[in-house]
């Protein structure tokens, strides 16, 4: 990785790729979630996240050329800027809730930062995204409350611990510090120390991204340039 400071489109693509890939992972619960209500919830959250990705890609495409679909689907897996946390395929409910809550908590910090941007269009879009994300956070937080005791707490705690180094890879610098403070404020029993290893940080990818990409882009690659 180069040492240069990330450009404003790098920041935009990182957020867009996170939302697209996590949206894809969330959509994998459609039809198989542990309850019908959660089937509906994760399907709807996935739809929102992919909608956010689309809007962010559209803004990025105006700077970089091309269009939102090309940015979303025509890059090679290694070119995506998503963080490893969102790539993980974890069909365990405690892992799913732990990732959901950690991601939404970090994403809130990032959205606040974007909303304060002097790039007016990005700030406006971030404020719109925030209106929808507020519901994701309420949902994630409701689950953290529901799993707060006994065996549930033990399982959630184990999942949070396993995913924590990855969660630290979502944000850098001051934003990461702010994220850490919020996790500590909500979960007094959870140890928020640590730093992400190179395998958890943005810029690297897990082995789980390539199969996801293969499936996600399959139809588009089948007939290049087709108008759907």
């Amino acid at each position: 990785m180069s040492a240069r400071a990330p450009s404003r489109t790098d920041v935009l693509l990182a957020a867009a790729d996170d939302e697209l890939i996590l949206g894809w992972r969330d959509s994998e619960w459609t039809g198989i979630a542990p309850s019908l209500e959660e089937d509906v919830a994760f399907s709807s959250i996935a739809q929102n996240e992919i909608g956010h990705a689309r809007a962010l890609y559209e803004l990025a495409a105006r700077e970089l050329g091309g269009d939102a679909d090309a940015l979303a689907f025509d890059r090679r897996p290694a070119e995506y800027r998503c963080c490893p946390l969102v790539e993980l395929r974890r069909l365990d409910w405690a892992d799913t809730i732990a990732r959901h809550w950690l991601y939404e908590t970090a994403d809130a910090v990032r959205i606040e930062d974007m909303a304060a941007s002097d790039w007016g269009e990005l700030a406006g879009l971030a404020r719109k995204i925030e209106r929808e994300e507020a519901y994701h956070r309420m949902h994630a937080d409701m689950w953290v409350t529901r799993l707060a005791d006994g065996e549930e707490r033990a399982r959630l705690g184990a999942s949070l611990e396993a995913l924590w180094p990855y969660a630290l890879g979502i944000l850098d610098g001051k934003l990461r510090d702010r994220f850490r403070e919020r996790v500590a404020a909500r979960l007094a029993w959870f140890d928020v120390a640590g730093e992400p290893g190179s395998e958890h940080a943005r810029g690297t990818h897990t082995d789980e991204l390539a199969p996801l990409w293969d499936e996600m882009t399959m139809v588009r690659r089948s007939i290049p340039g087709a108008q759907w």
């Binding site: 509906v40 929102n48 269009e121 879009l125 719109k128 929808e132 507020a134």
Partner: protein, 161 residues
């Protein structure tokens, strides 16, 4: 001759693709209409970013302008200038008649879970306030699911955003 008034009237006839009882004007997604000769610029602020009805709304507005003999330029504005507070009083009444509980005003600030779980929402069928939140999410991005304990009927609640 295309006039802003005629364009607004035509847009008021366009139903929301997913909740057809309410028009795009009732929904408050038309922010501005500007007419310059036969060129009609519409500023459109979508509801939810992942709403699949977005393209349909945009294309129908463009068609409506063409039907009036104008040349449409529908600009999609992606900022927070739309909120559920922009749904008109007529729109709220139409939602209620169709079995949707309208959104709460945002005046009270961000919606909070405790507020949504409280029994402040009236059942659009029987009017009882004895309702509870079943799911923050529903069949489309803009809806939550509630249940009326009085008439034992689930109903859809337009999210406050």
């Amino acid at each position: 001759m295309v006039t802003a008034k005629r364009v607004w009237a035509a847009l008021a006839e366009l139903p929301d693709p997913e909740i057809p009882v309410i028009s795009l004007v009732d929904l408050g997604v038309v922010r501005d209409v500007a007419v310059d000769g036969d060129r009609v610029t519409i500023e459109f602020t979508p509801t939810f970013l992942g709403c699949p009805a977005l393209e349909v709304m945009r294309d129908r507005m463009a068609d409506a302008v063409r039907d009036l003999g104008g040349t449409p330029d529908v600009r999609v504005v992606l900022d927070d200038s739309w909120s559920t507070d922009r749904i008109t009083p007529e729109g709220r009444a139409k939602l209620r008649e169709a079995g949707f509980a309208p959104p709460l005003p945002r005046a009270a600030g961000e919606p909070a879970l405790v507020q949504l779980q409280a029994t402040a929402f009236r059942c659009p069928y029987c009017g009882s306030a004895e309702t509870h939140l079943e799911n923050l999410f529903g069949p489309t991005p803009c809806r939550s699911i509630r249940y009326c304990n009085a008439c034992r009927q689930p109903f859809e609640q337009f999210k406050t955003i």
